[in-house]
Symmetry: C3
Subunit: 103 residues, 3 copies
Amino acid sequence: MKVLFHLDETEKWSMTLANVKNFLHEVPDAHITVVANGPAVKYYTTDAIEADLLAQVDFVACNNALKANTIQPPQINTAVRIVNAGVVEIARKQKEGYAYIRP
Amino acid sequence: MKVLFHLDETEKWSMTLANVKNFLHEVPDAHITVVANGPAVKYYTTDAIEADLLAQVDFVACNNALKANTIQPPQINTAVRIVNAGVVEIARKQKEGYAYIRP
Amino acid sequence: MKVLFHLDETEKWSMTLANVKNFLHEVPDAHITVVANGPAVKYYTTDAIEADLLAQVDFVACNNALKANTIQPPQINTAVRIVNAGVVEIARKQKEGYAYIRP
């Protein structure tokens, strides 16, 4: 199963990470991408995401959002993938058959 | 037409139910599933959803969310279907061709 | 690429329009539809959306939401397309291969 979680609000991180963990608990081999844009990208400057989750899940940051929040790429977790536009990544993943979930 | 509505915030119930009614008004034979996870599952402990809507729509509760909100299955409306993980149900339904709407 | 943005909260307009502009910057020939229902339709009574964006993007208003907010069709921007039920339009577009994004 392939699933993409999308969030742009900082307050949605705890729900999103709980959702991701519940998903992996049920479907351990799921392909999961989390795309953060808007203010939610600020969370990537912390080390709040556990290492084993960073290893299992494709975490993505929108570069437009990083710029809008004056965050330089070296400030975010190195496990996070940066894309030009988060919304384009979301559309692309859906074309590839990923389900979309917006916590 | 097949459509899935998803909500995790309690405040989204009134909008979601209005959306469902509008959908059925336009497309009376639509297959509609409503998946609630997060705090939104608490609404299922009330009898706020009208009987005719419960008969027409597949209402689903996430069991992880029930546990997190210390709700026992017997406390919720018997017409509600319980799944292990709401997010997995959402992904499955999209694979089956359901459109996704997040009010 | 075909993508549909959906919003029902008035506060989501600035994020949605920023998302749309970022999308068009990356994919200038994208087919973009924005469906507003709920209180978000009130924004269409203003002339806040730039003319060049109105020309490039298919902006849609839900007529149920217009009625609920006592807005007459002549009060909204003439470039906006009115549909009976925004949620049905959203489901239809997804069937036509549009990706769904909920800012």
